[in-house]
């Protein structure tokens, strides 16, 4: 293990990473958010989910550096007297949680179906790929919007809807990688020694197609967070009691023109920063793993 870690620090990937300011900034942003959502709740001034802890008298307080601002609410409050910074920390947690869970689920499902379709080919392959074609012909947002409108708000439902939308990308990518990989001789060699199809797929094909998968999954975390934000903004995402970043923007937007700009702008900047960081990291990985771009 120690040896592998040492190998990583000596690897070309790590070397190139250090010389790529964008990638370093991206990783710093992502780590900042990860740390924030993991330990942030212990430090926030308020638990925004605890309705009893809110005081309507604190509503519409501006950030602390403005007139009427209080130190207790560094970034101001919303219409229910909720501390915006606390709400953003908890909201980031929901946004990132959804992003990671959805990517994990859709990646596992899409990869499995892509592996099976690509390796076995034939009817199963045609069936799955036509399904992918059909789904890709609808805008992802429309499909997610439709599912959410049909089933209603909720964390689990949101994850379900976004996974349904997301798996096709992995299935398509994995399938095309498998088609390339399965023609290689070591796959024949694996069949020849008497391995059954699934051991061949999981022990030989899968490890050799992981790189494009890692790249897509990374970039997709950002995309999913954006989609989630959009759905929540449109009012079909997470429940109002546990707002994600997108829902915070929406709540703030309702009062934006009353001059209460902060409750919309700060969560919006958070989304932007988070997705920006993830994309920087994803772009770096894509460039690294695609020799043609080097």
């Amino acid at each position: 293990m120690k040896n592998r870690l040492g190998n990583f620090f000596r690897s070309e990937l790590f070397h190139n990473f250090l010389r790529n300011p964008g990638a370093v900034i991206g990783l710093v942003i992502v780590i900042f958010f990860l740390v924030m959502v993991l330990i942030g709740p212990f430090f926030t001034p308020q638990n925004p989910y605890d309705i009893g802890g809110l005081d309507l008298m604190d509503a519409y307080k501006p950030p602390m550096w403005m007139d009427g601002g209080e130190r207790a609410f560094p970034l101001g409050t919303d219409e229910q007297g909720r501390d915006l910074l606390s709400a953003m920390v908890y909201g980031s947690r929901i946004s990132m949680g959804i992003g990671l869970i959805v990517v994990l689920l859709s990646c596992v499902i899409g990869t499995f179906l892509g592996l099976v379709a690509g390796y076995f080919g034939g009817r199963l392959d045609s069936l799955l790929m036509r399904l992918v074609d059909v789904q890709l012909s609808f805008p992802a947002m429309l499909v997610a919007l439709f599912i959410m409108a049909a089933f209603g708000r909720g964390f689990g439902k949101l994850v379900f809807a976004l996974t349904i939308v997301g798996w096709v990308l992995y299935a398509r990518t994995v399938r095309s990688s498998v088609l390339v990989e399965k023609k290689k001789e070591y796959i024949d060699a694996a069949k020849l020694i008497g391995l059954s199809p699934f051991p061949v797929i999981f022990r030989h094909v899968l490890p050799n197609i992981l790189t494009p998968l890692i790249v897509i999954a990374t970039i997709q975390v950002g995309t999913v967070i954006l989609t989630e934000a959009t759905l929540s903004y449109l009012g079909v995402g997470v429940p109002v009691t546990k707002p994600s970043l997108g829902l915070l923007v929406k709540n703030g937007y309702d009062v934006l023109f009353s001059g209460l700009w902060w409750s919309s702008v700060f969560p919006g900047m958070f989304i932007m920063l988070l997705v920006f960081g993830i994309n920087l990291l994803g772009d770096f990985l894509r460039d690294e793993f695609n020799p043609r771009l080097k």
Partner: protein
């Protein structure tokens, strides 16, 4: 059935050619078009021919790596083409292959212990990792590799060493038939002899039977008991090695042999130069597939398809000249 270890009869492998948006089958590449041969236990049959003549396809079809279009493959009297699923998987223990490219045929993400131990695991021949590693170490010694290489990755080795790993992987199951698909053509000349000698040594030691596919005639001559010459998906001549090299009957074999360099200074041999290229197996010539390039072509060659006929002790040739 037959007493032969391997008996291949009228083996055909056609690849469909598809075109258009509906992927309609518009033609067939007749990669292997009616190949018949047998192999006895402990024997080595060299399969030679130009690139694209179907020799590798034959090897792969025999090992069930490719679906066969037509024909029969009997192995120890059992028809391999009738096997499927679990039965085929179990039967694979008995016939293994040494691949041409020692770089492409070893999974880059596995260590030597995993690569060579994998066949053992697939057939439940190693209960623990320790037992597996012991067996792998033993076979590594057999192929001339140090047991200390166990935990290295395949990419850390040279071409010759990799090919030894490939051979170890093929032999660890103790098979009776090994198809060697141009096992040395990807290697440096200096390494080729070592690997060939290793194969010969292992054959003597374990009584292996080889189907040795190659385009290098001197290599084939060195290792084979019998040689089959393929042209455009068919065997045109098959004989004992010395008989074939000293007395080639088929014009194609004669041309092929005359093209091989003779390592003897001053010796001038008349070289037969064939005109034209190998015809496309998509649209093979009528009659004898060799007739457009043959220097002894006759009228009937473009009409009648010749068949493999016995013309001497164990000497078969497919040519109208000897009718």
């Amino acid at each position: 059935m037959t007493g032969h270890l391997l008996d291949v009869r009228n083996l055909k492998k056609y690849f469909p050619v598809r075109s258009g948006i509906l992927q309609k089958i518009t033609g067939q590449v007749k990669a292997v078009d009616g190949v018949t041969f047998f192999l006895d236990k402990g024997e080595t049959l060299g399969l030679v021919g130009e690139s694209g003549c179907g020799k590798s396809t034959t090897g792969r079809a025999v090992l069930r790596l490719l679906p066969v279009t037509e024909g029969d493959v009997f192995f120890r009297g059992r028809n391999l083409l009738a096997l499927s699923g679990e039965n085929l998987r179990r039967a694979r223990r008995e016939f293994q292959m040494v691949f041409q490219d020692p770089f492409a045929s070893l999974d880059p993400r596995m260590t030597v212990a995993q690569l060579v131990g994998e066949p053992l695991e697939a057939h439940g021949l190693a209960a623990t990792v320790g037992e597996r590693n012991d067996k792998v170490a033993a076979i590594l010694e057999e192929v001339g590799l140090d047991a200390s290489y166990l935990h290295r990755y395949a990419f850390e080795f040279s071409g010759g060493q990799r090919q030894r790993i490939g051979i170890a992987r093929a032999l660890v199951l103790n098979p009776s038939l090994v198809v060697a698909d141009e096992p040395v053509s990807a290697l440096d000349v200096s390494i080729q002899a070592q690997v060939i000698n290793l194969l010969v040594e292992l054959r003597e030691k374990y009584g292996l039977t080889y189907l040795f596919i190659a385009h290098d005639l001197s290599v084939v001559r060195h290792i084979s008991d019998r040689v089959a010459v393929m042209y455009l998906g068919r065997i045109v001549e098959m004989a004992k090695t010395e008989a074939l090299f000293l007395n080639p009957l088929h014009p194609y074999t004669q041309a092929l042999l005359s093209a091989a360099p003779v390592p003897e200074p001053g010796k001038k041999e008349q070289r037969i130069v064939l005109g034209g290229d190998v015809p496309s197996p998509l649209n093979p010539p009528s009659g004898c597939p060799f007739h457009p390039r043959c220097f002894r072509v006759m009228d009937r060659c473009s009409r009648d398809v010749p068949h493999l006929q016995k013309r001497g002790e164990g000497h078969f040739v497919s040519c109208h000249l000897y009718d």
